[in-house]
Amino acid sequence: MHPQSVPVHVFHEDLFRGLKGSAGEDFAAIETRAFYTAGVSLFEADEPAFGLFVVHRGSVAVSNSNWEEGLAGCSTFLAGEVLGLSAAVSGEAYQASARTLELSEIGMVSRADFLEFLATHGEFAFRVVGLLSDSLNSACDHLRALPPAIQA
């Protein structure tokens, strides 16, 4: 990872796989799936979070710098991975920008719908808490490891 970049945390666990019964049906009802060609922007850094994205097919590049400035801290999200979870839950701005790398099938869930879904499905909300907790731990480790010259 670029030493001066904000960490981009990928939720490698397929968060939505195995949603059973009413949870699966409820999630399908709030998710809007679409195909995006390569190079389409899903969201930009500092944009207020409007929802989260699930990669079903294809791949998405997530970078914490402006596209014009290069790709510091770039991660690639593949099928089954979730983008924008933390921002969607907190309601703050996205920390990074996301753009499709190839023809991709992406599911989008609006923030309001997702929060309602979490409130209804406690077991799932508990999993989300665990994932966000891991992200925060990684961010703390990253913060602790910032080079001394930068902190002076």
Binding site: P7, F126, S135, N137, R144, L146, P148
Partner: protein, 238 residues
């Protein structure tokens, strides 16, 4: 309920006069009742350490009253202030949820009322109360965003003037517009401000002096006046 630190302690969340728009404060009544049953209320004097970085997570602490400083030690031994926790927020949440060690040290800055919940009971409470899980997810996301902002600030901004200007602008968001400018109470020492923005105490003192000479800010004891917000924004690179 009385406390030795000049504070009236409130024992029940349901009837608490200190309730804020925080993590557990605005849960529904049934949820608050369940929380009341598993929490222990305590009063702490200023300077008390609630938990230490690297210690195994015992549980979570909900701050009801007062302020708590969260600090972390960098790889080279410097102390960094992550943030100042305000009433209604939870401390030690990610460590309690993940079962890892506390990532930071929490120290009270003034007399505080704190509710403590043991880790096993808290996890059970979350699992049984989806509403509480959503609140927990929201606080963790907010904390994550704060950590990312701090990494960006410490990692991408080398200029101490820019970092201090940004800190003062963020602080002024809680201030009050007056004829002289935006007035805000800032009780942190130069050392603590330095630990927050990744600069030495000397640099903070010198840069604040420069800002004062340029009539950007005025500090009188614990009162800070932002006299020229636009000028400060120029320094911050906003």
């Amino acid at each position: 309920m009385h406390s030795p630190y000049g504070m009236e302690l409130s024992g029940s969340c349901e009837t608490c006069p200190l309730r804020h728009q925080g993590f557990f404060c605005n849960l529904q009544k049934s949820c608050l009742k369940a929380f009341d049953a598993i929490k222990f209320t305590s009063g702490y004097p200023g300077g008390a350490v609630l938990f230490v970085e690297g210690e195994a997570a015992r549980g979570i602490y909900v701050l009801c009253k007062g302020r708590v400083k969260l600090t972390m030690t960098s790889a080279d031994g410097r102390t960094m202030i992550l943030r100042i926790v305000k009433p209604g927020e939870v401390l030690g949440l990610h460590a309690a949820v993940s079962g890892r060690v506390y990532q930071a040290t929490a120290e009270t800055m003034e007399p505080c009322q704190v509710n403590f919940v043991r880790r096993d009971e808290f996890l059970r409470f979350l699992a049984q109360n989806p509403e509480a899980s959503v609140h927990a997810a929201q606080q963790l996301s907010g904390d994550y965003q704060t950590a990312c902002d701090q990494i960006r600030s410490l990692g991408l901004t080398h200029n101490a003037s820019a970092k201090l200007a940004r800190f003062l602008l963020e602080t002024s968001a809680m201030g009050k517009e007056t004829k002289e400018g935006i007035r805000v109470r800032l009780t942190m020492t130069h050392e603590e401000i330095g630990q927050m923005i990744g600069a030495s105490r000397e640099t903070v003192t010198r840069t604040l002096g420069e800002f004062r000479d340029r009539h950007l800010v005025l500090r009188n004891g614990s009162m800070l006046v932002i006299q020229d917000r636009a000028g400060l924004e120029t320094f911050a690179g906003a």
